[in-house]
Amino acid sequence: MTLFEVLVRLVLVLLCFLVLPLVIGQTEHKVMGHMQARVGPIYAGGFHGWAQLVADGVKFAQKEDVVPAGADRRVFRLAPAVALIPYMVVLIAIPLGPGDLVGRSIDAGVFFVLAVMGVGVLGSLMAGWASANKFSLLGALRTAAQLMAYELPMLLAAASVAMAAGTLSLTGILGEWQWWWLPWQAVGAVVFFTAGLAELQRPPFDMPVADSEIIFGAYTEYTGLRFALFLLAEYAGILVLCALTTVLFLGGWHGPWSGDVGWLWTLLKTGLLAFVVIWLRVSYPRLREDQLQKLAWTGLIPLALGQLVLTGIVRVATA
């Protein structure tokens, strides 16, 4: 790889990281609005309020940076970066199209992605603790409890795909992918996507930021740009989760004419999943803490284990 190529890839990853979450966020504004018989933002930028999030960003950048007097200043300031950067690092391993259309193919792909994504939650914990606020601390505790319940089904479901493909590399998995993996790995896909939603603290799994109980959980004390970075982390998280589900379970760039427009298939499937994320948010009420734990431990984990058994048997039988 030449230096120029490296630069191009870095810029592209940064661009994806900055633009696609905004697209998802704007889609959420509009879709959520219409699903609730509203219209969503309509002024900023003229056409259907397309520039609303840009305007929000400009506003956030000009706001005062308030650090509460009782807070642990250093940890408080560092937390948004810890929450945000892992999602960006993960993007480099996700293949967009066939061949070389990937930031960089990593041998331990799935494993790398899951490990790095898990670091992001430290940001929420740090924020919750450093704020010196009861709501924030409760939010951090709930975040940790939720992570512990849902990281496991996510790992197990991802392992199922790795078993099917016989490799951990994301490009390798897509290379092996066949259409009949869709029904074969369907349970795993549902488990993975659900657990991912819970890790992102998206409704209906938004107990850690339940606004009617604990204001905004770990992010209660944040203002201005730091708050904006937490929001960006949430939407980047949606992007990563949807892209990862696409690659692992929906065949990524596979589809008609995938040789030419493979990248379009990836984007399309990712976009569709992002729509589902928004759709679920509008449709379902928040789960209670006991329901959350019950769903994970007695629902998703047994399902994921069942999927593992099924994958193993089918794979050995057809080998």
Partner: protein, 202 residues
């Protein structure tokens, strides 16, 4: 959930269907600043003052639950019209203000006013950036009088309003008196002629 559905997850699917269906329909949002809302009849926007009717009886200010009506007045002597009669005094309104930061829009003042000086107006665009400016003086309150709609029409077969009956009765009486006076003035022959056709009617 009161009733268990046949398939597990049928309720979840139903929830998704509802939101998806709503998305395809037109939204109910009103484009307010551009498109003014169609307010329902008798909307309570603001309280207007018909200053000419006010007699400074202070009933509204006294009945107001949160004391948001301020009234100042002075007495004025009206000289007697006829010689020998007594001079009369009357109240002149100096200040009538309502603090809409305190007002809770209960409408008791409108109800108790015995002279129909207070009215509900549907005007609602009087937001300000300063709470002090929400105290509106009588000129503003008088100006809002122009936005008060005409009272809604009565039901088709309803009894006539008392005011109209009284006014008509007074007008009839006046007309009769005038007619009588006119007939007395024109002479006896004319009065007989006019009385003649009345015999045939009961």
């Amino acid at each position: 959930m009161t009733r268990m559905s046949k398939f597990p997850g049928a309720g979840l699917a139903k929830g998704l269907a509802v939101t998806l269906r709503t998305m395809t329909k037109r939204s109910v949002t009103q484009g307010y600043p551009e498109v003014l809302p169609e307010l329902p009849p008798r909307s309570r926007g603001v309280i207007a003052l018909f200053e000419e009717n006010c007699t400074v009886c202070m009933l509204c200010a006294r009945e107001c639950p949160d004391w948001c009506i301020y009234i100042d007045s002075h007495k004025e002597v009206v000289p007697a019209k006829e010689p020998g009669a007594r001079d009369r005094t009357r109240n002149v309104l100096d200040r009538f203000a309502i603090d809409f930061a305190l007002c809770m829009y209960c409408g008791i003042c409108v109800e108790v006013c015995p002279f129909d000086a207070l009215f509900w107006s549907p005007e609602f665009e009087y937001a300000t950036e300063d709470i002090q400016q929400l105290t509106h003086e009588k000129d503003t309150l008088r100006a809002w009088m122009w936005t008060v709609p005409a009272p809604p029409a009565l039901d088709e077969r309803a009894e006539e309003p008392k005011e109209l009956t009284m006014a008509r009765r007074a007008a009839d009486k006046l007309a009769k008196e005038q007619a009588q006076a006119a007939s007395e003035a024109s002479g006896a022959s004319a009065s007989e002629a006019s009385e003649a056709p009345e015999d045939g009617t009961p």
